[in-house]
Amino acid sequence: MPLATTQTSVPVVVNEAKCIADKGCTVCVDVCPLDVLRISDMSNKAYMAYDECWYCMPCEADCPTGAVTVNIPYLLR
């Protein structure tokens, strides 16, 4: 069976103006226990690549520039 792409609204939001991933920072990516964040090849900023979030907060708490915000996933809100 072929695969389809289904849209999903993801809970982790990165403020690209504040994110310093382009300077080599990978803190949020490193600390996520579910490994769902990545640095974009296009923008060189962090983003949520997989909607598999435990909304546990290390990415937000450990970000050195306060660029990461964790929201409650829509299905729980």
């Binding site: 069976m1 600390v31 579910l34 546990c56 290390p58 996933p73 299905l75 729980l76």
Partner: protein, 578 residues
């Protein structure tokens, strides 16, 4: 992104610890301290810095046995009674004797515990009999403090490696493990003299009622990999029919009441605002009353704080909204709920395996030894009941020390190299397919079936249907699952662990033909407790490539229980006259 790379390397160590959450780091630390010249490797599928159940911290110790407040004998008695007597007391008693020294050690790492004006630990009463709950006002520092100790001890940490199977030697001893990199899919063979499994709970077994797959009570990374690996290595697993089910805030995965808000006067209430349970301590009997109230016309069930003073509520919020589940305040804010003004709706969690709160897990003795020589287990996945975070630390240290002693006396066990190739073929099979079913759908279906058929009350006919459905999913998983990158490969392996745990949950539950532990093992076809035939543990293991269960006698008690004390936890419901 997460491109697949073909690769295989090999390392050896004296002690291999799998899982870098709570028990694992402590086990590794103690093993290394026991013999600083030995090689200890700590393997973690995420990053040790923030992995495991205490990722963001913990709000307190739920089971601290502190001189002056409680004795090891009293604690052992309490845990025995709370588990309907099906307890091997030796490991519980050993924990109770050793946990205070671990508290002092954690204190020396800079983790602060609540103290009263005299400088003594401010321990609170939540359990039926004794006083064991110690709040941690800066509990958010626990993982960082632990990580500092690991760095100081110069432990070898391998992040982003997920162990997939254990290697057993030709002589039956443990020989090591096979792991795969979660970013590249490269393989690593780890030869080890002793292996300690610290992979946490099987927290992604049931599906949360919100339908969000990762909104589980347990850290969603804890997908039951340790239970599956132990099973395939031939280790025995104890009492898996004793599920974990917890009272939570409805739709949110935060715990509700007992340990944090309870000591301040909050309680669980029905829709009339009345208390209906005597003791909010999480036991199977308490969960059964909770479930009954939910089903009755008096449901839903609420967490009631609106009778408390505003300052008290603020104090509770400081812990509830900042430490263990820091998004909790955000959740309430989103719905406009304030503890001061209204009761907050609660619900029961999805099912899981977790000895932290129940009594199931990979069978271990008082040295954290499993039934496979050289293989240890500690923390939420090992069978020491109700051990929580402090149990993970304490039993992790027991495991680390004993494993190092064992490793000193043995050489590497020889294993068949063909095992590695067989495992690589199994793991990589979904990467070889052009077309198929993605792991998230395989996982969703498994977990939806778990909710439909395994969630108590347990009905024999439903369980038999579950086994058939699981077999169909297994065929899909083995023959048709496909992944496109290393991240999905990790999820596919987790989906396999989840399915293995679902099968074990069904098998273990059907074996015990009685009801016990309140809601955790409530069988409609066998509604009563049957001490004559079932006052025993059950052990599940792989025999001739099939699941088999057997009875195991409860070991003689170290701390005797008087007859009139045995049913203290059975009397949970507040009487009508009250």
């Amino acid at each position: 992104m997460d491109d697949l790379i073909d690769g295989l390397s090999e390392v050896s160590c004296d002690v291999l610890v799998i899982g870098g959450g709570t028990a694992g780091p402590m086990a590794a630390l103690k093993a290394k301290r026991k013999n600083p010249d030995a090689t200890v490797i700590l393997l973690e599928k995420a990053n040790v810095k923030r992995s495991g159940a205490i990722s963001m911290g913990m709000d307190g110790l739920n089971n601290a046995v502190i001189p002056g407040y409680a004795t090891p004998e009293q604690y052992t008695k309490e845990i025995t009674i709370a588990n309907d007597g099906i307890v091997d007391q030796k490991p519980v008693y050993k924990y109770a004797q050793r946990c205070y020294s671990i508290i002092e050690e954690l204190d020396s790492y800079g983790i602060r515990f609540l103290k009263n004006e005299n400088g003594d630990f401010a321990v609170k009463k939540v359990h039926h009999i004794g006083t064991y709950v110690l709040p941690m006002p800066n509990g958010e520092t626990v993982k960082k403090a632990l990580y500092r100790q690991l760095r100081r001890a110069r432990l070898l940490i391998s992040n982003r490696y997920m162990a997939t199977r254990l290697l057993t030697g030709n002589d039956g001893r443990i020989a090591g493990a096979i792991a795969v990199n979660t970013r590249t899919a490269e393989f690593l063979v780890l030869k080890a003299k002793a292996v300690i499994l610290c992979c946490g709970a099987a927290g992604r077994l049931g599906l949360p009622t919100s339908g969000y797959m990762f909104g589980t009570y347990e850290n969603a990374a804890n997908s039951g990999d340790g239970y599956a690996m132990a099973y395939y290595a031939g280790a025995a697993l104890a009492n898996l029919e004793c599920f974990q089910i917890n009272p939570l805030i409805k739709d949110y995965n935060g715990p509700a009441c007992a340990y944090v808000a309870g000591p301040y006067g909050a309680y669980t209430a029905n829709n009339t605002g009345s208390r209906f349970i005597e003791c909010d301590y999480w036991s199977g009997q308490m969960m059964l009353e909770f479930f009954n109230e939910l089903q009755s016309g008096k449901g839903p069930v609420f967490l009631k704080l609106n009778h408390l003073h505003g300052n008290t509520v603020s104090e509770i919020e400081k812990t509830l909204h900042n430490v263990e589940r820091p998004t909790r305040g955000l959740f309430h804010q989103g719905r406009g709920t304030d503890y001061r003004n209204e009761m907050v709706e609660m619900h029961i969690s999805e099912i899981g395996f977790c000895s932290g709160h129940s009594a199931s897990g990979v069978f271990v003795d008082e040295f954290a030894r499993t039934t496979v020589p050289g293989l240890y287990a500690a923390g939420d996945m090992a069978s020491v009941p109700h051990n929580y975070m402090l149990g993970a630390f304490t039993n992790g240290s027991v495991a680390g020390e004993d494993a190092m002693t064992y490793a000193k006396g043995v050489d590497f066990a020889a294993f068949d190299p063909a095992e590695v190739e067989t495992e690589r073929t199994r793991v990589l099979a979904p990467t070889r397919r052009e077309d198929g079913i993605p792991p998230n759908q395989v996982e969703y279906k498994t977990r939806r079936l778990v909710n439909d058929y395994l969630q108590p009350p347990k009905v024999t006919r439903k369980y038999e249907l579950a086994k058939r459905r699981f077999a169909e999913v297994r065929e899909d998983l083995e023959m048709r699952m496909m992944v496109r990158n290393a991240h999905e490969l990790m999820r596919s392996l987790e989906a396999a662990s989840i399915l293995d745990c679902a099968d074990m949950a069904a098998h273990a539950s059907l074996y015990r033909t009685e009801s016990r532990w309140g809601l955790y093992h409530l069988r409609t076809d066998y509604p009563t407790k049957n001490n004559e035939d079932w006052f025993c543990h059950t052990l599940l293991r792989k025999q001739d490539d099939r699941m088999a269960s057997e009875k195991r006698a409860v070991q003689p008690y170290v701390v005797p229980i008087a007859d009139e004390e045995k049913d203290l936890y059975d009397k949970q419901r507040i009487r009508a006259s009250a």
